[in-house]
Symmetry: C2
Subunit: 108 residues, 2 copies
């Protein structure tokens, strides 16, 4: 069963934006705060949550701390979704079948 940690972390709009910004590559706290219009302490606090959720990792570089996105939790999410993908594919197949049915009737 899927753990809710990833969902909780991403349920906060600011943190979701952080993840999206980090998609383009690692950034320092200051850069993240600037891009999102946050005060530095709030940026640090949210990054801490993301860190504890395993969604980011840190690398200290001199004065700065660079945060990089980790894909593992997202891959887990992806795997969790697998079971549900079957659902909508299945439904699409049904629709597809129905459309074929209509079409064959059309020929008559």
């Amino acid at each position: 069963m899927m753990d809710t940690t990833t969902f909780s972390a991403l349920a906060e709009p600011t943190r979701l934006r952080m993840v999206e910004v980090l998609k383009n590559g690692p950034l320092s706290v200051g850069e993240i705060a600037e891009q999102l219009g946050l005060r530095q302490p709030q940026a640090s606090k949210h990054l801490r949550v993301l860190l504890e959720a395993g969604l980011v990792e840190v690398e200290a570089a001199a004065n700065r701390r660079n945060y990089r996105l980790r894909t593992e939790p997202l891959q887990a999410l992806d795997a969790w979704l697998e079971a549900y993908r079957k659902m909508w594919n299945e439904r699409f197949d049904n629709l597809d079948e129905y459309l074929r049915h209509l079409q064959s009737k059309d020929k008559e």
Copy 2:
């Protein structure tokens, strides 16, 4: 940009379990409550959140209300993940490339 509603709804363990149980098909409130060991009011309350998040839909059948999983929000999640799938595929490609590199060195 992805909406956080789906994440919020799934961040609650009980609601996540509800979604997973509903994967097998629609269930009434009472059935859901029973399967998850919940009191009926709590089940109704959580189902309301899922309903407002668009993760389930209801169909009234006599005395009962049958809740069915809706895949749209999950499909949106799936689409959102697409951008990140590229990341880990890319990384895998790099590893792959590296292994090929090692192998070609091996031949020397």
